[in-house]
């Protein structure tokens, strides 16, 4: 492919994003397009801002480590007429709390999560694993207890780029509380 055949970088990115069915990493795009990653990243952010500015019905977002086209949120009601199985079951309060503890404490054992919540969470944890929001990741060395962490599907469901984007927990906690011993 010679240089003069190449479309502008931004158009090339749009074309590729149109055919992918899962988030595509900046670095993958950069490789295929043979451009520096920074340049590709900048173009992606430019496009995303432009779509927003022009009030387009689609949006370009970076979620779970990759870029992907999404419908814009103000179009949800319209889109739902077409997306048959868009209904995602809501999580219970218990599941949400358990997921929150796993998200901030990962990797973490069930016993620790139970200690934080003051109530047994085995059943809830199983639900989260079945839903693909949480997964096992080996065992704790001292106790042999299974460790859990959140999945990339969790990031997708929350629309987060990575775990660093989780809201800060600190504002809700006075000093020192984070580190109190959960064991009893």
């Amino acid at each position: 492919m010679s240089d003069d055949e190449l479309p502008p970088l931004r158009a090339a990115i749009e074309a590729i994003l149109l055919v992918v069915d899962e988030p595509i990493a900046e670095v993958t795009l950069a490789q295929v397009l043979e451009r520096p990653r920074e340049e590709v990243g900048a173009a992606l952010r430019e496009l995303s801002a432009e779509y927003t500015e022009q009030g387009r019905g689609f949006d370009l977002r970076e979620v779970a480590g990759g870029w992907r086209f999404y419908t814009r949120d103000n179009c949800a009601a319209v889109v739902e007429r077409f997306v048959l199985d868009g209904q995602q079951t809501r999580l219970t309060q218990a599941a949400l709390e358990t997921m929150a503890v796993v998200a901030y404490r990962q990797p973490v054992t069930r016993a620790r999560v139970s200690a934080v919540r003051g109530v047994n969470c085995d059943g809830v944890m199983r639900t989260l694993v079945l839903r693909g929001l949480v997964e096992e990741m080996g065992t704790e060395q001292e106790t042999g207890a299974t460790l859990y962490r959140t999945t990339s599907y969790f990031l997708e469901r929350l629309g987060l780029r990575d775990l660093d984007e989780l809201p800060e927990l600190a504002p809700f906690l006075p000093d020192d509380v984070e580190n109190i011993e959960d064991g009893r």
Partner: protein, 299 residues
């Protein structure tokens, strides 16, 4: 070594958001659906009285907490009930601490109470933080659910170009994978084999002790238990001795605290003691498991 006292954060607003539903009359209704665990209930009670979590008006909260536990009667699952009891016990301690004259806290017990209070509050604050952030996550999920990703098959002209699929596994591995996927996912089970302890029957131990004491008349507790196989058996034998004491079959003598405990056979009315049909022994059957567990925990 007293834990650093928690600063009084301005937490009222946050707590109120997690306030439980109160009935129209202002009466307080508690349901397990509303309160999932002791921390949840405690937060709810604190919110109900609009108390700052770190500025205690413990008497009210404690009373209601305990009333709640009592109202639940026999429907508890053991695990949850024990968590509730730990919190209730801590609260009672704290309530007791409130009755102490204010001022210098020198006594070790007072310090312990303060520590218990701080620990409970620390746990509560921690739990509340996660509850709060769980709310944020739920809001994010709801917001995210309004954006639909593009999942559309590739245009045919590109799809035709796709290289041959590489499965990367053979038929057998494929079947193994299928087996794994189609196996219902059981909740992980905590293995308890390693904490299993054989039972010791109080009745058996009593029979053994009666025989031995009849022969020798008097012995130390130490020597009476020297042949025990484990803690669980010592405990069972001790319980058997208490039972025999109640029956008046033995008497105890201990010259100084923590000194040797002497057990003496008193030969009054001996026939009744070894009677297998004795009702009190039946009751003790239930204690066997309990004591065995207790003993294991101590080890």
């Amino acid at each position: 070594m007293a834990r650093k006292r928690l600063k009084s954060a301005n937490v009222r607003d946050v707590i109120e958001q997690s306030a439980p539903k109160t009935s129209g009359s202002g009466g307080f209704e508690v349901h397990l659906e509303v309160f999932e665990g002791p921390f949840d209930l405690l937060l709810g009670l604190i919110a109900k009285h609009k108390l700052d979590i770190t500025e205690v008006a413990l008497h009210k909260v404690t009373d209601e907490f305990i009333a709640y536990i009592q109202s639940y009667g026999p429907e508890w699952d053991l695990d949850q009930a024990s968590h509730f009891l730990v919190v209730a016990a801590t609260l009672l301690d704290l309530k007791a601490a409130r009755l102490l004259p204010s001022g210098e806290v020198e006594d070790e017990e007072d310090l312990a109470l303060l520590e218990a209070r701080d620990l409970l509050f620390a746990r509560l604050l921690q739990y509340r933080a996660y509850k709060e952030v769980a709310g944020l996550l739920a809001a994010r999920m709801a917001e995210q659910a309004r954006r639909y990703p593009r999942i559309v098959p590739m245009e045919p002209r590109f799809a035709e170009l796709l290289p041959e699929v590489i499965l990367g596994l053979g038929a057998t591995e494929f079947a193994r994978l299928a087996g794994r996927v189609l196996t219902p996912k059981q909740p992980p089970i905590v293995p308890i084999e390693h904490i299993y302890t054989p039972r010791a029957s109080v009745r058996e131990q009593a029979t053994l002790l009666v025989g031995r004491l009849r022969r020798i008349g008097r012995a130390t507790f130490r020597s009476l238990t020297s042949d025990c196989a484990g803690m669980y058996e010592i405990v069972a034998r001790f319980l058997a001795l208490l039972e025999l004491y109640r029956e008046g079959a033995v008497s105890f003598e201990q010259i100084q605290p923590l000194g040797e405990l002497y057990v003496s056979w008193s030969d009054t009315d001996e026939a009744e003691v070894a009677d297998d049909d004795h009702e009190d022994y039946e009751d003790y059957e239930d204690y066997d498991d309990y004591e065995a567990e207790e003993a294991t925990a101590d080890e």
